[in-house]
């Protein structure tokens, strides 16, 4: 199929190479990081010269080279996991149950196990490099009866388990803080400068995170440390010496040197992983310049309008295309000129039509999502019965598409229709294997947030222009990992409402208990549902910027007047969205600011996307009104919109 082939070209030609380059840089950075680690872990103030010579000899030893190769393998694996798990649209758990569901997801489980194993490997390498009492797992000792045998070296065991623990907690925190979310920066910088700029943050984050993890680990080891110790002794046939006191005692754990070594190893581990993640983010979000039009037909599918239009594609491609659109509309007159140009035979503004149409449909989609959400919340969290739902739909639709009908009615193009489709990152477009959907909020699972599902449901069912075309895609795309019964699905998605009570499935007592439980836990994170609504708003922000800059530039650059024809629909689309956003921000919790956490490597940009969208929307409308001024009075639009536009013209918004 054409589109699958196309998504292949981008992933194959761009994303993979970017990921490979980031991993290569991470591997190249490994030797200096390791050298610093060795010096820090073995440094003694009393013999500084001796330490340095020792470190130098260690760096060239065979064991160091072997452990270095192991570390390279770990970095490769981490980089691969980054590539596999990254997403440009964060998964936001709207309730604690949903978060638990994410944590218990099999895919997440696999990732945790892999991280555990990698943690053990890194910790083993650390143990080798630190040397001394950490070097081996077993050592020959004399038992009380005088017979020589192998005893367990608990120091290495505690270090290895620390690695496993830190790896595991890293993967758990990755889910909670959405560490796989890749955000795009508003400030463009060269890769080196971006890396240099965020390096201090990475050092700080890894040190602090390592400190917390090691603190938790020590508590866990104090209480449960005897279990793995006994198990290791049993499996490897090692013995415990009676002479050395065990480490899971207060006296054993109150060892500053041990604590320091645990902490520095955990910092080393987290630092290398964070660096890999950081490099991946920097490389993958780099601006990609799509040609606006190509003179060769075989490259036509790589052009900006085509890339924006095509349906099945990795989300990253759509995001990069929109970013490129926003940048070109702002900075590049020659490329803007291509956008405004007419096709050679025929004289149609295909480029502009495609770009503006796609941007408008993105915005209309967001408007509709907001209206649907608002209506759901306004009815006190009850889902409406289907009949009222469709009625509402038509009423909201008339307001949404009053000016834009001609643009969007025939095209089933939207990928970003609903959170359901939004959240599924399809790295390979076609029939999706379960493994390619990372952390997707499985809408079929009982753990997915009911609010989210309620949101998606009416849109899928009764939206006229994409209902028939789009819903099969969504159905197919949704991961089927949790093979849940239809009972729980129904109960989860439709909380008891008057309309659905008589349904026979409700009569079973167990599902209704579960439903009640879910209902109780539903709105525990009220701000999260608002965040989830705007999770992909970076795309809308770019669409708004791109459109408004293009319209602004058209005032002087558009020689054929192609933009003028779309101006009424652009304005009404923006005004309707503005109204919907305003209404949304009147809801409780929607305008509450999230707590800023600075000591986490996880990107929390998604938490403030709705504010950014609101600001960008206003600026975009103002950009158009200031450019055109009183000329806008000649634009055809409804009286309500004109009134609203007048507010903008008078700077009263």
């Amino acid at each position: 199929m054409f589109s699958t082939e196309q998504s292949c070209w981008f992933v194959r030609k761009v994303i993979c190479w970017r990921a490979a380059a980031s991993i290569a840089w991470a591997v190249l950075l490994l030797p200096p990081i390791t050298a610093v680690f060795i010096i820090l872990s073995r440094f003694s103030f009393l013999h500084p010269i001796h330490t340095i010579s020792e470190c130098l000899s260690l760096l060239t030893s065979a064991s160091a080279i072997f452990s270095f190769i192991l570390l390279c393998g770990v970095i490769l694996m981490v980089g691969f996991l980054n590539l596999e798990y990254y997403t440009v649209i964060p998964t936001i758990a709207c309730s604690k149950i949903a978060l638990l569901g994410q944590l218990l997801h099999p895919r997440q489980f696999v990732s945790s196990v892999v991280h555990c194993i990698m943690g053990i490997i890194v910790a083993w390498c650390c143990a080798i490099t630190i040397g001394g009492r950490y070097e081996t797992l077993g050592y020959p000792c004399i038992q009380s009866d005088g017979s020589p045998q192998m005893c367990l070296n608990e120091y290495q065991l505690i270090l290895l388990l620390a690695g496993a623990f830190v790896g595991f907690s890293h993967s758990l925190l990755g889910v909670i803080h959405n560490m796989n979310y890749v955000s795009f920066h508003t400030v463009q910088q060269y890769k080196y400068l971006r890396f240099k700029g965020s390096l201090p943050l990475v050092v700080k984050c890894s040190a602090i995170q390592a400190l917390y993890s090691i603190r938790n680990y020590i508590v866990v080891y104090f209480f449960l440390g005897y279990i793995p110790r006994a198990w290791i002794c049993k499996t490897l046939n090692l013995h415990l010496t009676s002479s050395a006191h065990p480490l899971d005692s207060i006296a054993g754990l109150l060892d500053l040197s041990l604590f320091y070594h645990l902490w520095i190893s955990a910092t080393f581990l987290l630092f290398t992983w964070y660096i890999t993640l950081l490099l991946f983010r920097i490389f993958v979000t780099e601006v990609y310049s799509f040609p606006v039009q190509s003179s060769f037909t075989e490259d036509a599918h790589q052009c900006l309008p085509k890339v924006l239009l095509t349906d099945k594609q990795p989300m990253i491609l759509k995001f990069l295309a929109l970013q490129d659109l926003a940048l070109l509309s702002q900075h590049s007159p020659s490329r803007r000129c291509e956008v405004f140009s007419l096709s050679q035979p025929g004289g149609h503004p295909h480029n502009w039509n495609a770009i503006s149409g796609e941007c408008l449909s993105l915005l209309a989609d967001l408007t509709q999502r907001l209206v649907a959400y608002h209506d759901t919340v306004a009815t006190n969290g009850r889902a409406k019965s289907l009949s009222t739902g469709s009625e509402r739909k038509t009423s909201s639709e008339t307001s949404v598409t009053s000016g834009t009908e001609d643009l969007m009615s025939p095209r089933p193009t939207l990928l970003m229709k609903t959170p359901a489709s939004v959240f599924a990152r399809s790295i390979v477009g076609g029939p999706q294997s379960p493994l390619t959907a990372p952390f997707t909020p499985d809408l079929d699972s009982p753990f997915a947030s009911p609010a989210l599902r309620r949101l998606t449901a009416p849109v899928e069912q009764c939206s006229p222009w994409h209902g028939t075309v789009q819903s099969p895609h969504i159905m197919r795309r949704a991961p089927k990992l949790w093979s849940t019964s239809t009972d729980s699905q129904v109960n989860g998605s439709f909380p008891p409402s008057p309309a659905s009570v008589p349904s026979p499935k409700q009569e079973a007592s167990k599902p209704s208990l579960l439903a009640q439980f879910l209902q109780n836990r539903k709105e525990q994170l009220p701000e999260a549902s608002s965040q989830a609504l705007f999770a992909d708003s970076q795309a809308h922000i770019w669409a708004l910027e791109g459109l408004s800059y293009l319209v602004q530039a058209s005032f002087s650059e558009d020689h054929f007047g192609v933009v003028q024809t779309a101006l009424p629909s652009i304005l009404s689309c923006m005004l309707v969205l503005q109204e919907a956003v305003d209404r949304h921000f009147k809801l409780p919790h929607a305008s509450s600011k999230p707590v800023r956490s600075t000591s986490s490597i996880g990107d929390s940009t998604y938490k403030t996307l709705r504010f950014a969208l609101r600001a960008t929307l206003k600026t975009a409308i103002y950009r158009i009104t200031t450019t055109f001024g009183d000329h806008l009075n000649a634009v055809q639009m409804s009286a309500e919109h004109r009134k609203r536009l007048q507010q903008f013209l008078e700077y009263k918004e």
């Binding site: 463009q188 910088q189 240099k196 700029g197 590049s332 020659s334 960008t616 600026t619 009263k652």
Partner: protein, 528 residues
């Protein structure tokens, strides 16, 4: 090059500059003296304001000095150490431990004393490299602010809204008032963190957002223009702060309204804020010891960032790379961009000349980020404002000494530049405002227009052009008396040059080739 000697002689004392018409600065003792055709348009002028110093309720002593009023309360060492750590950080803790040597072990007090001495030595070394770091934060704002005698000035900052007729005034009592001719309410903004306001600026392409540079943070107020409230709550303000980034002395919005940059003389990084997301990207460049003044070019392509040492940078905003511009004599005090963003006028402390830099736009190559835009090689001197004497009609000799050119400002339609110079140290020499006219075609020139004079005894402290005045240009001046006045410049039309040295039309001469009047020592610039 234009110099002050070419200027028409200043007004006799007692006369106040009212407006400009027909290339003459008209004066009078009151508003009624305005010529008729000028009075016709005077109706559109915004009101003049007067803030007498007595009307402002000033802050009493700072909090730390009230300690002496209370009885000494003995706390345990732990409590005191914790409090010292909270208040003064590591230095405070070390000082506390060193001071309480009777309670701590001897080795601890001695070692902390040594550490403290070492820290002080290092900081004094650092301070000797960058002397401004030893200033207190109030002094630092006063030193680097665009206001003359900032600490003593009633009006501490002023900002016109970029699109409408409203403006914000920051006063000595740390409040900000917003005046809008179309509404009866004048909101007063007060916030717990709004102290020592160094600069205010309205967000472009927005009706409500006002950024305020404060002592410890940045505030972004959202003042609803339709609201009738006179005291917006502090919930309307966003607080943007970054550790180590205070005091903030300069802020600049991008002309597209999307980003805000802020600078602090203590921090070597320029902060680029995404205000809605409350996140910032530090643009770190070592050297210079801090950033004092920022100015975003009107086309959005460049940002001027001056440092406390003899160096300033010009950032390009596409990929955020910068050019270094070392100055010979002193730090860059002020700068402004021509409306098309191609020219930067700047002044250097210790020199009484205005320099110009020309930036040629690189041809917009599609896609490829143009980091290689060819900048100018050296700055050219466009005006000399050194000491001049004028003979007044009464026979007095007025001596104009310009210690520091304090700020330069370009008006929107690129027709005039006003320069405001004065010396904070020299009391007997009053600060002056000189107005130049500019011409960009065929060459960039500064032509003299005149001096703007206030009431007797009033010195200019701050000035700004109205960004979109319909009838020409409107220069707003804040005086040392607490008065804010507006001086309109009525240009007949933008196309026809109406320049003259004494008011008589000089059209025929100016239409000759530039070389023809080179002997008049007007500045000419070769177009290469």
């Amino acid at each position: 090059m234009c110099s002050l000697a070419l200027f028409p002689p200043p007004l006799p004392s007692g006369q106040t500059t009212l407006c400009e018409s027909n290339n003459e600065l008209l004066s009078g003792t009151s508003t009624e003296d305005r010529p008729k055709q000028v009075r016709f348009t005077a109706a559109v002028l915004p009101l003049s304001l007067y803030f007498p110093r007595e009307s402002l309720k000033l802050h009493s002593r700072t909090e730390s000095s009230s300690k002496a009023a209370f009885l000494d309360h003995s706390e345990t060492l732990w409590m005191r150490s914790a409090a010292a750590w909270r208040d003064g950080g590591l230095t405070g803790l070390l000082t506390e431990i060193t001071n309480s040597h009777t309670e701590v072990p001897k080795w601890l007090s001695v070692s902390s004393g040594c550490t403290l001495a070492l820290l002080r030595w290092i900081s004094s070394f650092h301070g000797s490299l960058f002397p401004h770091l030893t200033l207190s934060s109030e002094d630092m704002i006063a030193e680097f602010s665009q206001v003359l005698n900032w600490s003593d000035c009633v009006v501490r900052a002023f900002s016109w809204h970029p699109h409408t007729d409203k403006f914000a005034v920051a006063l000595l009592d740390d409040s900000i008032k917003i005046y809008n001719p179309k509404s009866a309410t004048t909101p007063t903004l007060k916030h717990r963190l709004q102290r020592s306001v160094a600069a205010v600026q309205w967000k472009p392409l927005c009706a409500s957002a006002l950024a305020v540079a404060c002592q410890n943070c940045l505030l972004v107020w959202h003042v609803d223009p339709c609201s009738l409230s006179t005291r917006p709550s502090s919930g309307c303000a966003q607080v943007l702060s970054h550790p180590g980034h205070s005091p903030v002395t300069s802020i600049a919005w991008s002309p597209s309204g999307s980003l805000l940059v802020s600078a602090s003389p203590v921090d070597t990084a320029v902060m680029v804020w995404d205000v809605a997301a409350e996140s910032c990207v530090p643009l770190q460049r070592l050297g210079g010891g801090g950033v004092t003044f920022l100015s975003w070019s009107p086309d959005g392509s460049h940002v001027l960032a001056s440092t406390p040492s003899t160096l300033f940078r010009v950032w390009e905003t596409r990929m955020w790379t910068c050019e270094r511009w070392p100055c010979v004599k002193g730090r860059c005090q002020s700068g402004c961009w021509s409306p098309d963003g191609s020219r930067l006028l700047f002044t250097v402390q210790g020199e009484t000349v205005i320099y110009a830099l020309t930036f040629t736009d690189a041809p917009g190559s599609p896609g490829i980020p143009t980091g290689s835009s060819k900048g100018p090689q050296a700055a050219a001197v466009v005006a000399d404002l050194s000491e001049t004497t004028f003979n007044t009609p009464d026979g007095d000799i007025i001596q104009y000494y310009t210690g520091v050119i304090f700020s330069v400002s370009f008006n929107n339609s690129s027709q005039s530049v006003s320069v405001f110079s004065g010396d904070p140290q020299a009391v007997d020499r009053p600060a002056i405002i000189a107005v130049f006219k500019t011409r960009t075609n065929p060459i960039f020139e500064l032509l003299p227009c005149g001096f703007v004079q206030g009431e007797p005894g009033a010195e200019p402290r701050l000035m700004q052009f109205h960004p979109n005045f319909q009838h020409g240009a409107l220069l707003t001046v804040c005086w040392s008396t607490g008065r804010i006045t507006h001086v309109p410049f009525y240009f007949l039309s933008t196309g026809v040059p109406h320049f003259g040295l004494s008011g008589s039309p000089l059209l025929p001469r100016l239409q000759e080739r530039p070389s023809a009047f080179a002997n008049q020592s007007l500045f000419t610039e070769l177009i290469s």
